[in-house]
């Protein structure tokens, strides 16, 4: 049986041969297809979760809790569990994950395999830094326990390993204590990049989360710098809202520079006026989850996200160069988010987070011109010793991948022969999306 699977960028809908384990899964070596990709919840933007016309293991049904240890602040669950369901369980018990990405619609396995980061990387590192251990199913060795003490090399390969080192069956995560579900927030409106970067350099006085939103379409580059910390007050701050759905694919023209420009101006003015508040954790960490399938707003064409990291000292130059490239291509990012990565070293051989500034920019898919623009971006980013984020990528070539991940050679030895992805084929078999001129 074939079924179509998509990733978050909505660039394609491709038939796969899915396997859908419902309670447990103990063997992948016997599966029929030549190779399989592990599909969590399809929230990576490009093709790390796709394996066109071949096998796919859908972990949706693997969402059981295995153990909750309140005293040691640890939870063990199957890898298909979504972060939103984990949070719904632990938040009322006064616990929180150490790292959360910008959406809660991600699977635990997906968070490990992409070693995701949050707004507190400068203090605690990435998701993989808080994984106590995991169970990994390999086609050649069966089920293995991996941690920093046991099968440690395989553990380091699996964190950020794009699901290619084996199927993550379950994981034990270290949690932190919180008083309640609220986040104290404050925001500062900025104009110009240097104002924004200065804020990242100032100590955040107890505010552990920092993130900046940028309006690249505004002349002076308007920005909103947001701080957040878990509130000590036990007051209520709004109920969890059930998400709304777009439910249809918007026409391609809906998001254009005018509608987006208007939205950005509104967002800027609103946040300029409201400078501090108490928010539910979902509103602060996962604001776009309110509209469950917002990716459909980009229309049938789909969209790309370009996320890179470069060392702090070269960020300003790289940013200005990318802006001039965008202007030349007449394609400005619709949504741009800037974060600072700290010095905490990621555990994974293939982890994306590393010291520097990381900028994520969304672009509607305008075909070859968008891809050519990204190729120009790549050159600038890589020549500044930067890296491109596989979880967001749908087009980088082999050279860009190799430069982004210097430990690639070491990682290769841990790849499971039965696992593969469209992404992996592209970046190892040198199939560039657009030829260089």
């Amino acid at each position: 049986m074939k079924q179509d699977y998509k990733s978050w960028g909505n660039l394609s809908s491709i038939p796969h041969h899915p396997v859908k384990p419902s309670v447990m899964f103990t063997d992948i070596s016997h599966l029929e297809c030549k190779d399989y990709v592990i599909y969590g919840n399809g929230r990576s933007y490009g093709d790390v979760c796709l394996n066109s016309e071949s096998g796919l293991i859908d972990t949706y049904g693997l969402d059981r809790f295995i153990e909750y240890d309140e005293v040691n602040s640890q939870v063990t669950c199957q890898a298909g569990m979504l972060l939103k369901d984990l949070l719904a369980f632990i938040v009322p018990r006064g616990k929180f994950v150490n790292v959360t990405p910008g959406t809660a619609y991600v699977s635990i396995g997906g968070m490990i395999a992409n070693d995701v980061h949050g707004k507190n990387h400068h203090l605690v590192g990435s998701f993989g830094n808080h994984v106590e251990s995991l169970q990994l199913l390999r086609s050649d060795r069966g089920v293995l326990t991996c941690s920093e003490n046991e099968n440690s090399e395989l553990f380091y390969a699996t964190i950020g390993g794009l699901g290619l080192t084996g199927m993550i069956l379950s994981a034990t995560l270290r949690l932190k204590d919180i008083s309640g579900a609220c986040i104290d927030t404050k925001s500062i409106a900025t104009q110009g990049l240097s104002d924004m970067l200065n804020l990242f350099d100032q100590p955040s006085k107890g505010y552990e989360y920092t993130v900046a939103w940028l309006d690249l379409q505004s002349k002076k580059i308007n920005g909103i710098f947001s701080y957040g910390k878990h509130s000590a007050d036990l007051v209520s701050c709004g109920k969890n809202q059930s998400p709304k759905k777009v439910n249809f694919t918007a026409p391609n023209w809906l998001l254009n520079k005018y509608s987006n420009g208007a939205f950005n101006k509104l967002y800027f003015v609103k946040n300029k006026l409201v400078t501090s508040s108490k928010q539910n954790y979902q509103a602060f960490f996962h604001p776009l989850d309110k509209l469950e399938d917002w990716n459909l707003l980009y229309g049938r064409r789909g969209f790309y996200q370009y996320q890179f990291v470069v060392p702090c000292n070269s960020f300003e130059d790289v940013f200005l160069t990318l802006m001039s490239i965008m202007k030349r291509y007449r394609q400005l990012s619709y949504l741009s988010v800037l974060k600072k990565f700290g010095e905490t070293k990621s555990l994974g051989m293939m982890s994306f987070p590393r010291s520097g500034y990381t900028l994520a920019m969304d672009f509607p898919n305008k075909g070859v011109t968008t891809l050519k623009m990204f190729q120009e971006f790549d050159k600038i980013v890589l020549s500044a010793d930067g890296a491109i984020y596989p979880a967001k990528d749908a087009r980088m070539g082999r050279e860009a991948f190799e430069k982004s991940f210097p430990q690639l050679g070491e990682f290769m030895a841990f790849k499971d022969a039965k696992l593969n992805s469209d992404f992996w084929r592209r970046v190892t078999e040198n199939k560039a999306m657009v030829e260089d001129e």
Binding site: M1, Q3, V23, G61, R64, F65, Y68, F89
Partner: protein, 245 residues
């Protein structure tokens, strides 16, 4: 409503219902054939917060030992607040037409077995004078169609049995709920191509819990199946027999 008994506990819909019940004070008894699968689910419900989760292994295609099953349930659960019957199989219609044994087996599991179990457990419920018997039937039982009439006839007969049981127990304080789900994305339907009308078992589970709470007699879930089935039932047989449904 603190004591829940789930027959067919490894079914996707049943598990989602059990999760909604997995709270302090709740005692849940799971009954299913596959012990390994059931123990993973039981452990999950325990972590989620249920006060106590017991398991009982039973193969519902075995009609000889229903008495024993009823005894075992009785000795584990002092009283039953909700009895959820969720087991069943969705046979391949074409295979059934070629295979008498298969057809008999499907009718046996999807109808005869449930009737036997309910007949065995109803006296306990009547004796309590309270509680809900919630049984998963199907919209497929509302009209026979060439694509699944073996399954449909078992569910249709089950729906009628439940009507009668509800009538018989209505003055005994026992509530009987007939659940008619439409297309649900579960392992049972993993080979079907999913379209607009398909929903996740979480949605069905919420509807079931609401219906138990407000003591509805019959629910279609999601709600729009009531109207879809109404239209399907209104089509004259002369036309219906030529349709591809």
């Amino acid at each position: 409503m603190n004591n829940l008994v789930v027959l067919g506990a490894t079914s996707a819909i049943a598990e989602q219902v059990a999760r909604l019940y997995a709270k302090p004070e709740k005692h849940i008894l799971l009954v299913a054939r596959n012990e390994n699968t059931m123990s993973i689910i039981a452990n999950d419900l325990q972590v989620r917060g249920a006060a106590k989760v017991d398991t009982l292994m039973y193969d519902f295609s075995n009609l000889e030992q229903v008495d024993k099953l009823v005894e075992d349930i009785d000795s584990t659960m002092e009283s039953i607040d909700v009895l959820l019957v969720a087991y069943g199989t969705l046979p391949n219609q074409v295979e059934c037409q070629k295979n008498i044994q298969l057809t008999q087996d499907e009718i046996k599991l999807n109808y005869l077995s449930i009737v036997s179990v309910l007949t065995g457990l109803a006296p306990k419920m009547v004796q309590q004078g309270t509680g809900t018997i919630a049984v998963i039937s199907s919209v497929a039982g509302d009209r026979g169609r060439k694509s699944n009439y073996v399954y449909g006839s078992a569910k249709g007969a089950l729906t009628i049995f439940l009507q009668g049981l509800r009538n018989a127990l209505s003055d005994k304080g026992v509530h009987v709920l007939t659940i008619k789900p439409g297309f649900v994305d579960t392992p049972m339907t993993s080979d079907f191509k999913k379209g607009l009308l398909w929903v996740q078992p979480e949605k069905i589970a919420k509807d079931i819990c609401n219906a138990i709470r407000v003591q509805k007699d019959v629910i279609f879930t999601p709600w729009y199946w009531r109207w879809i089935m109404l239209v399907i039932k209104l089509i004259p047989e002369k036309i219906f027999k030529k349709m591809n449904l």
